[in-house]
C-alpha cells in the first residue's frame, strides 16, 4: 500500500517537473541542454532493472513526464539477464543502456566482465556532482576504481522478524538468544547454500560471530528452510516458524498493514543491524545503443527527482540528503549517525566472503 501511495504521489507530481527548468550553474547548462536534446533525438533508453512492478511503473512514467523520452524497462532475474547480455556481447549485439541492480550482479558480472562504462565522468547535472547533496559528503561509488557503480540506497535491515504471539521482542537482547533451545525448530531461514538472501545472512553471521555460532543457528536449531520469499513470510505470518531470519522487509510490511502480529527486531546490544542497497546501484553499460539517453537517465536517477521516485517506489533510504525520506520511510530503516551497522554490500564482502561462506554452509548443512 505504501508503494502504491508513493507511486500515486510520484505520478501526480510528474507534470510539475515537466514544466520546471533544470537549475544549473552557468557553463554547464549548455552541456546539459545538449545532452537532453541528443537524448531526445535517440528517442528511448533501455534499462535493465529489478522485476518490481512498482518501479517498472514509476520510473518510466516519471522519466517520460520529465523529458518526453520512453523507457524500455527490462525486468528479470539477474542470473538470466547476465546470460543474455553475455551472449549478446559475444555476437557483437548491445541492447541495454543502463543497469539498475544489486551489488552481486554489478560486482560479479557486469564489473568483472568489463561490461561497464565509467559513470563518474558522465555525471554532469550540478546537483548530482555537488558533494554536499550526498549523505557521505561525496558520490558513493562501490567499485575499487571509484567510477563505475554508484550506490543510490543505504537502508537499515532488520536482524530478524518475529510473530509476536509466539515470540516477544523482550525475548531477544543479544544475538546468542537465537540459540536458546526453546527456539529449536521455530526459526525459518532463506536457503544459505544458494546465492541470495540466505547466503548473505549466513555470511553476515559467520563474519560477526564465527563458525560455531553459525553451526548452532543454522544446523543445531533445525530451522525451516525455503527459497520462496512468499513461503517464508507466510510461515512467519501463521506462526509456523515465529522467528524469521529470511523474510524480506517489504513482505513483512505488507503483513503488518494487514494487521498481522509481526514485528522487526532491529537492534540488539551486539547486533546493531545491517545496511544494504538492495537493487539501488546504477551503472552505464558500454556500447550503449542510446548513449545520450543513457547518460541522461543516469544523471536523472542520481538527482533529487529521479532518486526520490526510485526510493519511494522501493521504500529504501536514498544516499542523497536532500530527499525527505521521513515522509515515506519508517524511522527504523533510516541509518542513524554513530551506529556501527554491518554493511552487507561491501565490495570485498560481496566478492569473496559471501561465496566462501556459502560453500562452507553447504558443507556444514550437508547439502
Amino acid at each position: 500500500m505504501t508503494k502504491l501511495l508513493a507511486l500515486a504521489l510520484v505520478l501526480c507530481a510528474s507534470p510539475a517537473w515537466a514544466q520546471g527548468p533544470i537549475p544549473s550553474p552557468q557553463g554547464s547548462e549548455t552541456r546539459w541542454n545538449q545532452l537532453v536534446d541528443a537524448a531526445k533525438a535517440e528517442g528511448k533508453v533501455v534499462i535493465l532493472a529489478p522485476p518490481d512492478t512498482q518501479v517498472r511503473q514509476a520510473l518510466p512514467a516519471a522519466f517520460r513526464a520529465r523529458f518526453g523520452i520512453a523507457v524500455d524497462y527490462l525486468g528479470g532475474r539477474s542470473s538470466e539477464s547476465a546470460g543474455k547480455l553475455r551472449a549478446e556481447r559475444q555476437a557483437g549485439v548491445y541492447t541495454v543502456d543502463v543497469a539498475l541492480a544489486g551489488i552481486q550482479t554489478m560486482a560479479t558480472i557486469f564489473y568483472r566482465e568489463k561490461m561497464l562504462l565509467p559513470l563518474r565522468p558522465e555525471l554532469i547535472y550540478p546537483e548530482v556532482v555537488d558533494p554536499s547533496k550526498w549523505k557521505n559528503g561525496k558520490l558513493w561509488f562501490m567499485d575499487p576504481d571509484d567510477q563505475y557503480i554508484l550506490r543510490l540506497f543505504n537502508t537499515v535491515g532488520a536482524n530478524f522478524y518475529i510473530h509476536t504471539q509466539f515470540a516477544k521482542p523482550a525475548d531477544f537482547h543479544m544475538a546468542r538468544d537465537l540459540l536458546d533451545p526453546k527456539w529449536k525448530g521455530r526459526i525459518s531461514i532463506h536457503d544459505p547454500t544458494v546465492p541470495g538472501n540466505g547466503s548473505n545472512e549466513a555470511a553476515r553471521f559467520y563474519t560477526q560471530y564465527g563458525e560455531d555460532f553459525v553451526r548452532r543457528l543454522f544446523v543445531d536449531q533445525q530451522p525451516g528452510i525455503a527459497r520462496d520469499r512468499r513461503q517464508i513470510t507466510d510461515w512467519l505470518a501463521r506462526g509456523r516458524y515465529p522467528i524469521s531470519i529470511g523474510a524480506e522487509r517489504d513482505e513483512v510490511e505488507r503483513l503488518k498493514q494487514e494487521g498481522l502480529p509481526v514485528e522487526a527486531v532491529y537492534n540488539l546490544s551486539d547486533m546493531p543491524g545491517t545496511l544494504s542497497a538492495g537493487v539501488g546501484e546504477v551503472a552505464l553499460m558500454d556500447h550503449a545503443p542510446h548513449p545520450n539517453a543513457a547518460r541522461l537517465f543516469a544523471n536523472w536517477i542520481a538527482s533529487k527527482d529521479g532518486l526520490g521516485v526510485y526510493a519511494r517506489a522501493r521504500t529504501e533510504s536514498p544516499t542523497r540528503n536532500d530527499i525527505d525520506e521521513s515522509s515515506f520511510l519508517p524511522p527504523e530503516i533510516i541509518p542513524r549517525p554513530g551506529v556501527n551497522y554491518f554493511d552487507t554490500f561491501g565490495w570485498d564482502f560481496t566478492l569473496s566472503t559471501k561465496e566462501e561462506v556459502r560453500l562452507r554452509m553447504k558443507e556444514l548443512m550437508k547439502r
Binding site: 538470466e80 546470460g83 553475455r86 549485439v93 566482465e113 544458494v194 528452510i225 527459497r227 494487514e258 494487521g259
Partner: protein
Amino acid sequence: MSQLAAAFARSPKLRGLPAVELSVLLFFVTVMGLPILFLLFGSFNIAPPGQPPVYGLGNWLRAFAEPQTLSALWMSFAFSMVRLVPSLALSVTFAWLIARTDMPGGHALEFLCWFAYFVPDFPLTLAWILLLDPNFGFLNNIAQVLPFVNGPLFNPYSFWGIVWVHLGTGGIWLNVMLLTPIFRRLGATLEEAARVAGANTFTALLRITFPVLSPMIIAIAVLSFIKGLESFNTELLLGLPAGIYVYGTRIYDYLRQEPPAYGEATALGSVFLLVLAALAVFYRRYFQGKRKFTVVTGQGYSTLRIKLGKWRYVALGGFVLWFAVMMVLPLTFLVIGSFMRRYGFFDIKSPFTVAHWQALFSDPLFLGSLQNSLEIAGITAFLGVLLYSLVGYLLASRRLKAPALLEFFCWLPWVIPGILMSLGLLWVFLATPLRGILYGTVWGIALALTIHDSPVSTQAFKSAFLQLGPDLEEAARVTGASWRYTYRRILLPLVAPVAVTVAMLNFGTALTSISTPVLLYSAESRPLSILLLEYSFNGEIERAAALGLLITAIICAMMLVGRRFGLQMTNPRRQEARPA
C-alpha cells in the same frame, strides 16, 4: 550453414536421402543440435566469465564431485518412477473411457482435462499447501474432528505429498489430452473381432487395444519419465523444507548462481541426454520392423463405442471424483486467492478484494503483452502443425534413411532444461543472418516455442500416422494422385483431430511457457508469461494467480473453438453412419 549442408551431401550414408528428409534433418540440426553443441562446447570452458576461453574438465568434475549429486539423481529417478505408474494407468483409463466407451459426458470431461492442464502450477501448489499443511491445512483441520485422528493426517512436505501434488498438476491431464484422439481414431473392428472370438471387454482392452496403441502409450511414458526427471518447481516449494533435493534442483542452483554456472549445469543436464539415448534405443528396438498399429484402413472403418451398461455411471462418478479432488478443490482456493488481500489468509480484516484484478488490467504492459502472447501462440500453433505433421509422417512412413537420428533430434528439446535450451537458441539466433527477424521478436519466441514442443507434437502425429493403413496412400497413388495431393487431401484430414490437439496444445504452451521466452524477449515482444514471472518473483502471488487464471480462460476459449472444429472432422456419429 552451407558447410553443414555440404557435409551432409558428401556423407555416403545421407547422399540418397530424399530432399524432404534432408531438409527436415538440416532444420533440426540447426535449431536443436546446434544449441546443444554450443552448450556442450561451452561446458568445457573453465575460464572465469569474461576471460579468454581455457578448456578442461573442471566444470564437469566439479558438478559430479558433489556428494549430493548422486543422491539427488536417485531421488529424481524415484519420484519419476513412482509418479509414472499411477499417472499412466489413470490417463490411459480416462482416455479410453472418454473415447472408446459410452460413458456420459465424455466430451465435457475431455474439455475439463484440457482446462486442468493449463491451470498454472505454482499457485496451484500453494493451494495444496493451504489444504494439506500440517499446521494450518484446511483438510487437516477438518480431519481433526474425526474421532480416530490425533495429529495432522496429511503432509505436503514429504515424498508422498510431492507425488500427490504432481498427480494433480499437469501430467495426467496432458496424457489424457494426447491419448484421447489416438483412442478415438481406433477402429472398432479389432475389438469387435476380439469379442466375437469370446474375449470380454477387459481382455480385448489388454490384448488388443493397448498393444495396438502402444506407440503413443510408450511415447507418453517416456515423455512423462523425462519430464519427471527434470521437475523441480514443486520440489523446491515442498521438498526443501523436508530436506528433499532432486536433480533438477541442483541444475537450478547452478543456473541461479551469480554469475550463472552454465558449464556445471550443462554437465549435469547431460545425464538426461544419456537417459534419452537409452530410451531411444529401447523405443526403436521395440517397434523395429513391426507394423501392427494400423487401425484406419481403406477397407472399412468403424468407431462404435463399447457399451458399459450400468458401469458407465460408475466410471463417470470415478472420473468426476478424481477431477473434483485433484483439480476443483485446489482450483477453488486459487480462484478465491485471486480475490483475497493475501492469498489464504481468511482471518485478516476485510480479506476479499478485487484490487489484484484491477491492478492487472491497469498494468501499462498488460495489453501489449496480451497482444504479443496471442501473436506468439498463434504462430506457434500454426508452425507446430505444419512442421510436425510432416516430421510425424516421415517417421511413420518407415522409408527414411536416418529415422533414429531424426527421432533423437525430436526428443532433444525436452531433455535439456528449458532455460539452457533457451540460452542455446539465443546463441544460434544471434549467430545467424536472420538475427534481425528472430532475436527479440515474436517470431523468434514462436520459433523457440515450436522447437520446444517437438517431442509431444512429433509423437502425437507419428502415432496418428502409424494408425493409417498403407492402402490409403496406395489407392490414391493408383488413381493418379501426387504425394502432395494425397498428403493434403487424404492423410491430413484423417489426422485432423490430432492436428487440432497439437495446435491447441502448442497454443496453450506458448501462452504459459516462461523458461523458453525468458532470454529471448525484448520490450517490444514481452509476453504475458513474463509478466506472470515478474509478479511471482515480486511476491505478488494474488496478481499472478489472477493473470494465470486469465491465461487459462483465454486457452479455454480457444479450446472451445478448436474442439468444435476438430470434433466436426472426427464426429463418431458421422463416421458410424459411413458404409463399411
